[in-house]
C-alpha cells in the first residue's frame, strides 16, 4: 500500500511534492463525494413529502421528515416476503453451488480417471455460453412443468456452475497430497478425505465462492422476473421493478423502496469489506 521510503523521499524532495499531494487528495476526495452524493440524495428524497419533492432549488434536508413513506412502501408491496424469498433463493443457490462444485472439483483434482482432462475442458467450454442461449429452453421447460412461481424454478438452474468447479479444482490442486496419504493408509476412502481433509483446508476458497455466488444471486434480475408472477414469490429486485410500475414518478416512495432493497447487501459489505476485497484479489489472480 505504501510506496517505498525512497520514492516518497524523492517526491517530497521536489518542490512540487506538497502541491502534488494536495491535488491528489482533492481529486480522490471529490471523486468519493461523487460516489456518495447519489446515495445521500436517495435517502433525502425517500424522506420527503410528495408535495416538496419537485421543489426548486431542491432541499437536501427534508422538512418535515416524511417517515411515513417507508410505512406506505412496506404496506403497498410485501417487501418482507420478498426479503425472505431473496434470502432463501440466494442461500440455497449458494449452498448448492458449494456442494456440487466442491464434489466435482475434488474429482477433477484428486481422482485419476479416464477422460478426465477432456471432461474438464468440456466444463470450461460451457463458461462461454451466454445465459440468454440456455435461458430460453429452460424457461419453456419451467412453463411446461408448471413450475412458474415455485422455489424450484428460482433455485435449481442456479445451483450448477462450471466456474465454481473450476475454482474449486484450482484450489484443491494446490493442497499438498502428503496430508491425504496418511488418511488413505489409515483406510479412509476418497469421500472421507474430501470431507475430513480437503474441505476443512479449503475454507477460504469456499468462503470466496460462497460470497460471490450469494451476491450474484441476490442481484439477479432477469431470471426471477421471468419465472415469478405472484408478488409473494418475487425477489427484492423483481419487487422493486413492479413497485416502479405501480408508482411511476412517486419518487419519495420509489427511493424508499430502493433504500430498502439496497440496504441489506451494502450493510453486509460495510461490515466485511476487507474480506470482500481480499476475495476479489484471490479471484482475479486465479482468473
Amino acid at each position: 500500500m505504501t510506496p517505498s521510503a525512497t520514492s516518497v523521499a524523492a517526491v517530497a524532495a521536489r518542490p512540487s511534492g506538497l502541491a502534488r499531494s494536495v491535488a491528489l487528495h482533492a481529486l480522490v476526495y471529490a471523486g468519493a463525494a461523487t460516489m456518495l452524493l447519489p446515495f445521500i440524495w436517495m435517502v433525502s428524497t425517500s424522506l420527503k413529502a410528495s408535495g416538496s419533492v419537485f421543489d426548486v432549488p431542491p432541499k437536501w434536508i427534508p422538512n418535515p421528515v416524511a417517515w411515513g413513506n417507508y410505512r406506505e412502501t412496506l404496506e403497498s408491496l410485501p417487501f418482507g416476503w420478498m426479503f425472505v424469498n431473496t434470502v432463501i433463493v440466494s442461500g440455497c443457490i449458494t449452498l448448492g453451488q458449494l456442494l456440487t462444485s466442491s464434489l466435482a472439483g475434488y474429482a477433477f483434482a484428486r481422482v485419476d480417471f479416464r477422460g478426465r482432462d477432456r471432461l474438464f475442458l468440456a466444463y470450461l467450454a460451457t463458461m462461454m455460453v451466454p445465459g440468454a442461449v440456455t435461458m430460453i429452453p429452460v424457461f419453456i421447460t419451467v412453463r411446461m412443468l408448471d413450475l412458474v412461481d415455485t422455489y424450484w424454478a428460482l433455485i435449481l438452474p442456479g445451483v450448477f456452475t462450471a466456474y465454481g468447479t473450476f475454482m474449486m479444482r484450482q484450489f484443491f490442486m494446490a493442497i499438498p497430497r502428503e496430508l491425504e496419504e496418511a488418511a488413505f493408509i489409515d483406510g479412509s476412502g476418497h469421500f472421507g478425505v474430501y470431507r475430513r481433509i480437503v474441505l476443512p483446508l479449503s475454507k477460504p476458497a469456499l468462503a470466496t465462492l460462497g460470497t460471490f455466488t450469494f451476491m450474484g444471486a441476490w442481484r439477479d434480475f432477469m431470471w426471477p422476473l421471468l419465472v415469478t408472477n405472484s408478488e409473494t414469490m418475487q425477489t427484492l429486485a423483481v419487487g422493486l421493478a413492479s413497485f416502479q410500475g405501480m408508482y411511476y414518478t412517486a419518487w419519495p416512495l420509489l427511493m424508499a423502496g430502493s433504500v430498502l432493497v439496497m440496504a441489506p447487501l451494502v450493510g453486509v459489505f460495510l461490515f466485511n469489506q476487507r474480506f470482500f476485497i481480499e476475495s476479489i484479489k484471490l479471484e482475479g489472480i486465479k482468473g
Partner: protein
C-alpha cells in the same frame, strides 16, 4: 476390478450431481435452443420447421419498394449498434479504474475508507441503482440537471432524448463500475510490481510518466487483458437491466441492446425460434472474442 475402473466409479459418484446439472441446464438447453432457432414457435400452436429462415430474416437484406437494398430486420442492426455504442463505457471505465488504483496506491489519508466508498456502488442491487439514476437524470427535476444549471449549463433530457440516452447509460455504468472489481484487480496488480524496479528507475532519473509507461503499464498488461476480455464478453450480453429500469429500451429503441431484444422476442412477443436464433448469433460473437483471446492472449508481452 482394476484400479482405473474403480476410480471411474468414484469419479462418477463425485461428479454425478454436477454432471446432472450440466446436462439439464447447459448441454441439453444449448442443443435445444440451436434446434429451436430453425423453428417458428409461439408456445401456443405447434412448432413449425422453417429451416434457416430465422437467420436469413435476422442477417439478410431485401430490396425495398424503391429497389434499394435494406436489412430485413433493421432493428437487429440498430440494437447491435446500440450494444457496441454502450461498450464505449468499457475503455472509459477501465481508464478510470486504473487512474483510481494508481491514486489509491499512493500515500493517501484514509485510503481504506476511500476504497470502501468507491466500491459501494458495485455492491448495490443493479435494479435499485438504475431506479436511483432514473431520478437523478430526470430532465426537469433531476439533481444532475439542477447542478449543471448552477454552473450555467442547460442539461439535456438525458434518458428521454434519443441522442443523450446512451451517453447517460454510459455515465451510470461508469459511476457504478469505476471503483468496483476492476479497480481492486488493478490495485492487486500494482501491489505485485516489485518496488525495486521503481527505485532503480528513480536512481536512473526516470520521471513519473516514464516510470508508468515503462514499468507500471507493461507489468499490468495481464490485468488489463483479463479485465478487457471479461468486460467485452459481458458487454455483448449486457444492457437489459439498465434499459428495463430506466428507459424500457427507448426512446425510439435507442437504448435497446441485443440482450433486451432477445428478452422482447422471447418473453414479451413469444417468438421463441427467432429469439433462439438471435441468442445464437450472440453466442457466436462471444465465441469469436474468446477465440481471439486464446490466439493472442498467450502473448502477454511485458516489453
Amino acid at each position: 476390478m482394476t484400479r482405473t475402473s474403480r476410480n471411474g466409479l468414484i469419479a462418477a459418484a463425485f461428479l454425478a450431481p454436477s454432471i446432472a446439472g450440466f446436462l439439464a441446464f447447459t448441454l441439453v438447453p444449448v442443443i435445444t435452443s440451436g434446434a429451436l432457432s430453425f423453428f417458428e414457435w409461439d408456445l401456443i400452436t405447434a412448432p413449425r420447421f422453417i429451416g434457416i429462415e430465422n437467420y436469413t430474416k435476422l442477417l439478410g437484406f431485401v430490396r425495398d419498394d424503391a429497389g434499394r437494398l435494406a436489412a430485413s430486420d433493421p432493428r437487429f442492426w440498430f440494437y447491435l449498434y446500440n450494444t457496441l455504442f454502450l461498450m464505449l463505457a468499457i475503455p472509459l471505465s477501465m481508464s478510470g479504474s486504473l487512474a483510481l488504483a494508481l491514486a489509491l496506491n499512493r500515500r493517501v489519508a484514509f485510503a481504506v475508507g476511500l476504497r470502501t466508498i468507491y466500491f459501494i456502488p458495485s455492491m448495490c442491487v443493479p435494479v435499485a441503482v438504475f431506479l436511483l439514476w432514473k431520478w437523478l437524470l430526470d430532465g426537469d427535476y433531476g439533481l444532475l440537471n439542477y447542478l449543471l444549471a448552477r454552473v450555467g449549463v442547460k442539461g439535456p433530457a438525458w434518458l428521454a432524448s434519443p441522442g443523450w440516452a446512451k451517453p447517460a447509460i454510459i455515465l451510470v455504468s461508469m459511476w457504478a463500475g469505476i471503483g468496483g472489481y476492476n479497480m481492486i484487480l488493478y490495485l492487486a496488480g500494482l501491489q505485485n510490481i516489485p518496488r525495486d524496479l521503481y527505485e532503480a528507475a528513480t536512481i536512473d532519473g526516470a520521471g513519473a510518466w516514464r516510470q508508468f509507461r515503462h514499468i507500471t503499464w507493461p507489468l499490468l498488461t495481464p490485468t488489463t487483458f483479463f479485465v478487457l476480455v471479461m468486460s467485452v464478453i459481458g458487454g455483448f450480453q449486457g444492457g437489459f437491466e439498465a434499459a428495463y429500469m430506466m428507459t424500457r429500451g427507448g426512446p425510439a429503441g435507442s437504448t435497446t441492446t441485443i440482450g433486451y431484444y432477445i428478452y422482447n422476442q422471447a418473453y414479451e412477443w413469444f417468438n421463441m425460434g427467432y429469439a433462439a436464433a438471435i441468442s445464437w448469433i450472440l453466442f457466436l460473437l462471444v465465441l469469436g472474442v474468446t477465440l481471439l483471446n486464446w490466439k493472442y492472449g498467450g502473448r502477454r508481452v511485458h516489453y
